[in-house]
Amino acid sequence: MKVLTSPSLWIVLLVVLAVALIPMIANLPALREELFVLLMLIILASSVNIIMGYTGYVSFGHIVFFGIGGYTGFFLVQTLQMHVALAALIGGGVASLIAFLMGMPVLRLRGAYFALATIGINEAFRTLVTNIDQLGGAVGMLLQFSVYDAYGGAKEASQLAYYGIILVALLTITASFMIKKSKFGLALMAIREDQDTAMVLGIDPARAKVMTYAISAFFPALAGALFFFKNGNIEPGPAFELHRSIEALVMVMLGGFGTVTGPIIGAFVYERLRGFLITDPTFSNAHLVISGALLLIIVLFVTAGVIGWLRQQSPVLRRYLE
């Protein structure tokens, strides 16, 4: 595949990989925890960008797939002693399947109606899981410590999860790039611009959208499975946290809607900024107010996001910055 040899992709992958490996080489467990969350957000934001930035469908409740993957993976690891890698893959498959089945009706909705429906789906899953005793109900599940023994102990298990999340992040970025550069991606962008015209030009939007939705559900589910495995417990609240979902949209906007690097930069900036505001004594109280104000400024004045803005500045950047 020609796209896979593109320097625009390799540079991004190498930078992400290099940063992600710092805590492993320099042995900084605290940094590793931070980067785990950052990689997870990159996965979430990039996935949201595939359905929202490329296709124009604002999936507000996208976190539902993170939760579905998390619960599926956790359940399999816990009750069947399945290896976490396999459990995560099955979680991804389940999330994609659910996205596929729900996508068929839901993706017929346009604009605000679709956004609302995805919120409804997330809330429905959250409240449903709260009622299922086999999944621990409202209090959730706690991983038996012995499960980690199969991986050589808790420390090793959490290292494995970290390598896993790096891999998933790199895969998500690659998928995002390949879609953007493919014929399929062109169809998505045509749908985003004007679905009726896309149809007149020969594109079957229903099929393209539902496939995209299933793809964009896969990666967050893997991330969810790894995250909750590492944490050792899972609860409905954190698994299906609508607020997180909206933050992912913010990251996409911040970095640049419809670009490959945008969600990565967006996740990085957002997470760093929040970290700074929360820990800095002068700002910690006001961190929500400040983040909100910054978001508003971006929404009102820098609609293209960081990467989008850079791409507008010169043809060279437009060529190499995806």
Partner: protein
């Protein structure tokens, strides 16, 4: 099944439903007029709660007497919010306005947390209850229904009887045409946002007279408003009122038949089904 339990639950649900309806009308009015889903709706509701709290506890004003002040506060908050956060992007794709109003949500929740922390609050309000046989209706509920009805009536009178109200409906119907007729749409949009905010805040104040609350109570009430609004048809105030009553009844009556924790599952499934099969709400045509 006990008949009296059913009656009592129905009355409970009905009274709560009126307040829910009022709350959702705020959201649906804004959507109806400018096609914006206001993600600041939850914090507006919470602002109403804390406004009565401060006015009654710190300034000693009776919560009900404080309502006119809440209304003025809501109007100002809404209009300012519109011009600061919404006006510039009013014609942008929905994602933009969703995020703009979400930023308002973040700022308000942040500010309210600084001012009040997230610890639980409540109003201590003593009103006589009404009794018939074994059925008791709390006085606060009766007053809440009366006020909710009064505000709804005033809203309709305003929308259908006054010149400004008619302008709002004209803008909701077709903004471009309304502008051609000489209506200043910016001002009308700002005013509508203000009225939507007033409805949310008054509903919040009334809810504060019924239940305990925190700065974070808005999230759940906001999603509930979404459900109600979709049930009644996005942009349809009468539908929202009806939707509120349905949800209020549903939440109180279904608890007799199913575990309380299943009620929200049921609600959200209905919500999705309505979006799919009756996108104009239960009242609207297909």
């Amino acid at each position: 099944m006990n008949f009296e339990v059913l009656i009592a639950s129905s009355i409970d649900g009905l009274t709560l439903g009126f307040v829910f309806g009022l709350m959702a009308m705020g959201l649906t009015l804004i959507f109806g007029v400018m096609k914006v889903i206001n993600l600041g709706h939850g914090p507006f509701i919470v602002m109403g709660m804390f406004a009565v709290l401060v006015l009654s506890q710190n300034l000693g004003i009776n919560p009900y007497v404080a309502l006119p002040i809440v209304i003025v506060l809501g109007l100002v908050t809404g209009i300012v919010t519109y011009f600061v956060a919404v006006h510039r992007v009013i014609n942008a794709p929905e994602l933009t306005t969703l995020l703009a109003t979400f930023s308002v949500n973040m700022m308000l929740i942040g500010a309210l947390t600084i001012l009040f922390t997230t610890s639980p609050r409540g109003l201590s309000l003593e009103l006589p209850s009404f009794r018939a046989g074994t059925i008791t209706v709390l006085g606060t509920r009766v007053v809440a229904v009366l006020i909710a009805s009064l505000v709804t009536g005033a809203l309709y009178a305003f929308l259908y009887r006054t010149h400004t109200g008619k302008s709002i409906r004209a803008v909701a119907n077709n903004r471009a045409a309304a502008e051609l007729m000489g209506i200043n749409s910016s001002w009308i949009l700002a005013l509508s946002f203000g009225i939507g905010t007033v409805l949310a805040m008054v509903a919040g104040s009334l809810l504060a007279t019924l239940f305990g609350f925190t700065v974070l109570s808005g999230g759940g009430l906001e999603t509930k408003s979404f459900v109600i609004v979709v049930l009644g048809g996005l942009g349809n105030p009468t539908g929202a009122l009806l939707g509120g009553i349905i949800i209020g009844l549903l939440e109180s009556i279904t608890t007799i038949f199913m575990p309380v924790s299943y009620v929200p599952v049921f609600e959200f499934v209905v919500f999705i089904l309505i979006l799919l099969f009756r996108p104009n709400g239960i009242l609207g045509a297909r």
